[in-house]
């Protein structure tokens, strides 16, 4: 009787174990299939597939918390004191906010040292002798920078000193070389990460004369790391899809 009892218990345990293995295997296969679908899908269309989107979101939330939130914040709104972009304003320095573009930034970074990253653009420090170090740009005097600031205010349709703005326009379109990155109309170039100077969205500071002067004089060159060695391809994809969705629906 005792032996029968042991046999029965053993069978039940073996069955439960077997069931657990089967369930675990099924879950692993299901997950693998989701990962495969995530990678094979068009990154920019994943948000239309509710199952895939839920999977991406579920995987991305802890990744964002662990890797991105320290800079972009838990509310995705960045930090203008540090030049960290707001991810919720749908205003993009690079590209147009598509998940595939965000994916590349996550993988290869911005001024990250990775050869595939966005490494081209940086803001020279015009109030410094080092402005010539990377590009043939002569430093500007404090007066030149103030004039340029006035010109930029006219692009934003804000009150400005007209005479100074005229001088600033010549600098912007001429020896300052500003137009080369920010475009002659000041609206920037998302192909190289040059911000739009004609809107009221600021990456640094608050758009005051002082903060714009500071930006021109001291330059900028923030960076976003290349996570290609820390993240798998599907993790980067999930994170990109998630961030793209947050931007459109903060």
């Amino acid at each position: 009787m005792g032996r029968l009892h042991d046999l029965a218990r053993g069978s039940i345990l073996a069955t439960l174990l077997g069931l657990a293995v089967v369930l675990a295997a099924a879950a692993a296969i299901h997950r693998h299939l989701l990962v495969t679908r995530l990678l094979e899908a068009d990154a920019d269309a994943i948000h239309r597939d509710s199952g895939l989107w839920r999977f991406a979101q579920r995987e991305a939330v802890p990744l964002y918390r662990d890797l991105c939130a320290s800079c972009h914040g838990t509310t995705f709104t960045g930090d203008r004191a540090r030049g960290i972009p707001d991810l919720t304003d749908d205003d993009w320095l690079y590209g147009s906010g598509r998940a595939s573009e965000i994916e590349r930034i996550i993988l290869y970074g911005i001024r990250s040292g990775n050869g595939k990253g966005w490494n081209l653009a940086y803001m020279p420090a015009y109030g410094s002798v080092t402005s010539r170090r990377r590009a043939p740009l002569d430093p500007l005097t404090p007066g030149d920078i103030r004039d340029t600031v006035e010109y930029l205010r006219t692009l934003e349709h804000r009150p400005a000193n007209a005479e100074a703005a005229l001088r600033g326009r010549e600098i912007f379109l001429g020896r300052g070389g500003c137009h080369d990155c920010h475009a002659p109309d000041g609206r920037g170039d998302a192909a190289i990460g040059a911000p739009n100077l004609a809107d009221d969205i600021w990456l640094y500071g608050d758009g005051s004369r002082e903060s714009v002067f500071d930006s021109i004089a001291r330059g900028h060159g923030g960076s976003c790391p290349a996570w290609t060695r820390q993240l798998t391809a599907w993790q980067a994809r999930a994170l990109a899809v998630y961030v793209a969705a947050v931007a459109k629906h903060p």
Binding site: V35, T36, L38, L39, E40, D42, A43, D44, A45, S70, C71, A81, R82, G83, R98, S100, E103, R104, L107, G109, R111, S112, G113, N114, G115, K116, G127, S128, V129, P139, T141, P142, G143, Y204, A217, R218, H220, G221, G222, S223, P225, A226, W227, R229, Q230, T232, A233, W234, A236, R237
Partner: protein, 273 residues
């Protein structure tokens, strides 16, 4: 039992002598192609295709996508062939590119690290002078005929003010163009070290003591002087972070170098030791 052991040994032996490594027979979902098992990433294909045709990838035709993929496969094949031909050992351009890429890897590693606020603050405090605002000054550099005339001019201007007429009446002439307001670094270049040192100490409206230089005796009239002002950590943080990471990258490169040299077997010809 013996036959089982022999069978096991036979299987192991077969595996050992015919092993080719794990080969994928299906392209992984994150890749666009495998070239001799080396992946071409789908994300790279998307970026390359969009860059080539300046259209979103989804709007490209199959032919366009295949054309870009073909060019990437071509590149991969030739890279692999270059490795087989030992171009890193012989071709200067390849070698330069490899050196740059390896050095850049240290930058990538440094960029990925997120330093703590405490570490950044320590760095800032150790280098705080560097993060002050750039001072500005507007100074007139004047020259006197001789040291006696310079002393007389300085006394006159200090007593009666330094209008343009007074300067002329004191017998002083401009030693250089009136550049208006300059950043300190520019003023130092324009004035030279000795005159800049004298200028830095002047308040608005002040006249310097005569400064004798090889080209004559100079007197400085300071119109406005705005010395550098220390910035607080919050305002300087971005630059602190950039410098911190640059220093970190330099240390990583130095560590890489030490490691490479340490494990390398480098032998130098007698005549060059």
């Amino acid at each position: 039992m013996t036959s089982g052991a022999i069978l096991g040994l036979l299987i192991a032996g077969y595996g050992l002598f015919t092993a080719k490594g794990t080969a994928l027979r299906r392209v992984p979902p994150e890749d666009a192609a495998l070239v001799n098992q080396r992946p071409i990433l789908m994300s790279d294909l998307v970026a390359q295709a969009e860059s080539t045709y300046t259209l979103p990838f989804t709007e490209l035709s199959r032919a366009q996508r295949k054309a870009v993929l073909a060019s990437m496969i071509h590149e991969e094949l030739y890279v692999q062939r270059g490795l087989e031909l030992d171009f890193p050992g012989t071709d200067p351009d390849t070698r330069n590119a490899l050196v740059a890429a390896v050095e850049q890897q240290a930058v990538a590693d440094a960029t990925t690290e997120v330093p703590s606020e405490a570490a950044l603050r320590r760095y800032f405090e150790a280098h705080s002078a560097k993060y002050a605002t750039e001072g500005t000054m507007w100074v007139q550099d004047l020259r006197a005929a001789d040291p006696v005339a310079a002393q007389r001019a300085v006394a006159t201007l200090r007593k009666g003010g330094a209008s343009a007429q007074a300067i002329r009446d004191a017998g002083l002439t401009a030693a250089g163009p009136n550049r208006g307001e300059d950043f300190y670094f520019a003023a130092k270049i324009h004035l030279g070290d000795a005159l800049f040192a004298a200028a830095k100490a002047l308040a608005d409206g002040a006249i310097s003591d005569p400064v004798a230089l090889p080209d004559g005796v100079h007197v400085l009239y300071m119109i406005t002087n705005r010395p550098p002002v220390p910035r607080d950590f919050a305002r300087a943080r971005e630059e602190v972070l950039i410098d911190y990471k640059r220093d970190r990258a330099a240390r990583l490169r130095a560590a890489d170098e030490k490691y490479l040299y340490g494990k390398a077997d480098i032998q130098i010809a007698d005549s060059l030791r």
